[in-house]
């Protein structure tokens, strides 16, 4: 639910969202080889499917955002993957908006990139516990969602004072998501570290 529908944000916001997304996309697509396409697509599809799964968290039902997870597994290539996932959601499954794809990619893609750097930096630290992946996976996953919600909240507030209450509701609704997502990313990254370490971005580029 971090994605915004059409028609809510001020036009200059979603237009600048497109500009930022176009710039980062151009850079990351240059880093990507055509051979990467099939593998990246499968992971994008898997992220998409996983984001349709709902967890019961207290009174509300939350669904995963997975931007932190995408960052940890795909590195900077998470950005085009999130873009594609959002295009899919907007055009084929009609969640989120069309004009807001740019700004939504910024909202989730930039936290994904940040979580990748957090994870990479964390794995270099020597803190003397055996399962560093779980710890830093959880931190990266939690921070990514928190950042995504923060970006969304700022955009809503900048759009208009009348959206203050909506923003509060949105932020409160996402607190359980941050927790669930942190646990989820920690578990899944720990699982990869034992079962298939090459799926983590830091072990090998896809």
């Amino acid at each position: 639910m971090v994605h915004i529908s059409d028609g809510i944000l001020a036009p200059w916001l979603w237009v600048s969202g497109w500009v930022i997304t176009a710039a980062i996309l151009t850079y990351t697509l240059n880093k990507m080889k055509i051979d990467d396409v099939p593998k990246l697509s499968v992971i994008t599809a898997a992220v998409f499917v996983a984001s349709l799964i709902h967890f019961q968290a207290g009174p509300t039902s939350v669904h995963l955002v997975l931007c932190g997870f995408a960052g940890v597994t795909l590195g900077i290539l998470a950005y085009p993957c999130i873009f594609i996932a959002l295009v899919m959601q907007a055009f084929l499954f009609l969640h989120g908006g069309v004009t807001t794809i740019g700004i939504n990619t910024v909202n989730m893609g930039v936290p994904a990139l940040i979580s990748f750097f957090i994870f990479k930096a964390g794995m270099k630290l020597n803190i003397g516990i055996s399962k560093k992946e779980i710890l830093f996976g959880a931190i990266a996953g939690g921070i990514a969602v928190a950042l995504a919600v923060l970006l969304l909240a700022v955009e809503l507030l900048v759009t208009g004072e009348e959206l203050t209450e909506v923003t509060t509701v949105v932020v409160l609704a996402h607190i359980p998501v941050i927790l669930v997502e942190a646990i989820f990313t920690g578990v899944i990254v720990g699982f990869f570290a034992t079962v298939k370490p090459e799926m983590l971005s830091i072990k090998k580029r896809l």
Binding site: G7, P11, V42, L94
Partner: protein, 262 residues
Amino acid sequence: MISEIDTYAGLSSPIHRWDPRLKVISILALIFSIMLLYDLKLVIASMLFAIILVYISRIPFSFIAGRLKWVFLFVLPFLIILPFTVIGEGVVIAHFGSITLNFRGIESVEFAVMIVIKALTSVMLIFPMIGTSRMDITIKALEDLHLPNKLVQMLAFTYRYIFVLSNEFMLMERSLTSRGFKRGSNLYTITTLSKAIATLFVMSYEQAERVFYAMRSKGYSGKVTTMHEFTLRPQDWLCTVVVCGFAIFIQVAVWYGTLEGT
């Protein structure tokens, strides 16, 4: 779990016969033009135009209504919260203990209604845009429009894999349930589902590797090849002129409106 958007691509209508390249561009232009509007009358006019397009395309309204329902649920909070929240002055309607219900005036209602109509219109327009050609034809059209090849390829692959993987996940869920797993709000549910999803990722990653080698050995080079060739006919241009014309018309109308207003 997920129904495909191009379920009704086999029908025949002027929109179905419209060249996919021009169709995608024109309707996208229209969506962007509507999102720039902040005038309730013009927004309603655009919604009527969208309904006419859907009607011409002969896609059943029941199919669209099923999707619109979810979009409506998403924007509903705006409709409920916006007109009644307290900022600045407002008319007090009722007190519930310490909570005061304020009515902020007809402008707020109009603003909220406009947000909802815009969101619904943009979703409605996606049906004539994507739902009237087969997905592989639309993807070929995107390539013809010179979108970055890597993005087009990723779109094509991801679209196919989403259905494969969601089926696989449903199987996995069924086997979890048959072993007595129940979803609840506890740590156990989260970790179990996380591990199920992790397995899904590992499986799909390995499958992708196999599929990629198989495609490579059959000569995959990263280009879309279909037997479909695009040809532009006068009717294609007529549709384009009508849809793009409306997109430009609403912008001109806004411009005149501001001129008269000042």
